[in-house]
Amino acid sequence: MSVEHHHIAGAAVDVPSDATLGAPGRRRRGRAFRAVGDNTLVIACQIAVLVVLLASWEFATTNSALNAFLFGSPSAIWGFLFEMWRDGSLITDTRITAYETLLGFVVGNVLGTLIGLALWYSRFVSRVVQPFIVALGSIPIIALAPLCIIWFGTGLISKVAMATLSVVVVALITAYKGAMTVDVDQINLMRTLGASKRHIFRKLIVPASLGDIFAGLKLTVGFALIGAIIGEFMSSSEGLGHAIFKAGSLYIIPKVFAALVVTIALALCLTYVVGKIEKMLTPWRQQ
């Protein structure tokens, strides 16, 4: 790509500047190094670290009954994973938690982003509400769990509310920050083109904030999951949080770990999907 671009640049009326002459060579070398050396090596090292950790864990727990009881063991965790898969609880629990997380994630981000961007419209209003937002953001989310249960019951809604609450303030602040850090010259340019405030908002502020908004999305996937799990901890009859809590109360440590593994896998999946959506919606950022 860089080579091709270089050729075209050379053929154009534009005399290629130092930048266009210098960059492709440097970039090519960098990419080659990363592709052959870096990537494979990194993945190999990651697998090695994982294998060593699991092996020493397994080894430490095979010779000691107490250790096996307190810390579980990779083989026991695997056994529980298999059992959860067979009795169907793996799928139902994961589905319920994923559902709560996604609903909270979407509602929280939509609400937070809309409010955050809208605050760009009025410096006065944003100054008025600023301390309230900071106050809301400083509340530890776990403190809201009992209230959510009381207000929204023990079903789905209370977990979605918890997930939403863990997301909404972060989403609001990142969107607001994105909107407020748009280059003043850029705004002036829009004005000189005859843009109204609405034009500036739609054609400049919103797309320019997308970078920050997506950074917020990646961050808040995890927050939404934490919110949903806390909600399930408090009171629930299903979900991964429920599985972790129940297994923990019964001292079935490997099962706690098994549910944790599934939770981590869920978090990774959701983050991956958000990353994919970001790539789709911001094609100009792919080099």
């Binding site: 154009a12 534009d14 500047s17 930048a19 010259d185 850029q186 002036n188 083109l193 100009w284």
Partner: protein
């Protein structure tokens, strides 16, 4: 290089008999509410006629960019008046294009879509604005690059796109603030030639803010030299170079060129020592 045809068909309709821009006793003071008052522009009067190219040069930090922002109404003025076509204006006047050293292209739009930005704002239909933008990009030497994102274009190309965006609204007056300052010499010269051709062939008016004396002299009909802060007008030179005014190299080779450079330079130098 094209000569500067001044046929009436190419000429945008002059909307009034008044010159496009008259500035009377413009003054700008910053920080009036606080104790740290600083006067940036002391007293400046300028006029820009139809089809004229006027450059404003001055020592760096003398408030050239502030001057431009005042003219565009992007900043309130302290005193004086700015008359666009004889009328007192508030805010950005219509039929005026504005371009800065930073290209300010929107990274999420392709070259073509960056050029159509102003046309979208003015509710030009999709077909029309695409056609206009394509033509403009082609005349400015960017055929084949319409669908490139700014991040994949060189500095010179990006500034060409910015110029095309400015011209897309068919402004009668162009206000440019050091538009070529970040470019290398060859690219700058090519762009200046294109600019001169586009402005002169359409009888547009151009006010150029620059610190590049050669650029000012080779491009302009008149060069206004400003003093240090607070900026005043130190000298006005009518540039009388008897060559094709769309050829920047020819201008540089003409016998008077160096005299202009020297006298403007000395006016700036003297200021530096005081």
């Amino acid at each position: 290089m094209l000569p500067a045809p001044q046929s009436p068909t190419n000429r945008p309709v002059a909307s009034s008999l008044h010159p496009p821009l008259v500035v009377n006793d413009l003054k700008k003071v910053f920080g009036e509410e606080t104790d740290t008052v600083s006067e940036v522009i002391a007293n400046i009067s300028i006029s820009l006629g139809h089809g004229e190219i006027v450059s404003v040069v001055g020592p760096s930090g003398c408030g050239k960019s502030t001057l431009l922002n005042l003219l565009c109404g992007l900043m309130p003025r302290t005193a004086g008046e700015v008359l666009w076509y004889g009328g007192v204006s508030t805010g950005m006047p219509k039929r005026v294009g504005y371009m800065l050293q930073k290209d300010l292209l929107l990274p999420w739009r392709t070259a073509l879509k960056n050029v159509t930005l102003g046309l979208e704002i003015h509710n030009i239909s999709r077909g029309d604005r695409m056609e206009r933008a394509r033509k403009l990009l082609d005349t400015i030497g960017l055929n084949g690059f319409h669908d490139y994102y700014p991040s994949t274009l060189s500095g010179g190309m990006r500034q060409r796109v910015a110029l095309a965006r400015t011209l897309a609204n068919e402004p009668e007056v162009l206000l440019l603030d050091e538009p070529f300052a970040a470019l290398d010499f060859q690219t700058k010269l090519l762009l200046e030639n294109d600019m001169a051709r586009l402005v002169r062939s359409q009888r547009r008016s151009l006010l150029l803010i620059t610190h590049d004396i050669e650029e000012a002299v080779s491009l302009s009909d008149r060069v206004i030299v400003l003093t240090h802060r607070p900026a005043r007008i130190r000298a006005i030179h009518e540039i009388d170079i008897d060559v094709d005014r769309t050829d920047m190299m020819a201008a540089r080779e003409s016998p008077n060129f160096n005299q202009y450079i020297r006298s403007i330079w000395s006016e700036l130098e003297v200021q530096r020592q005081t």
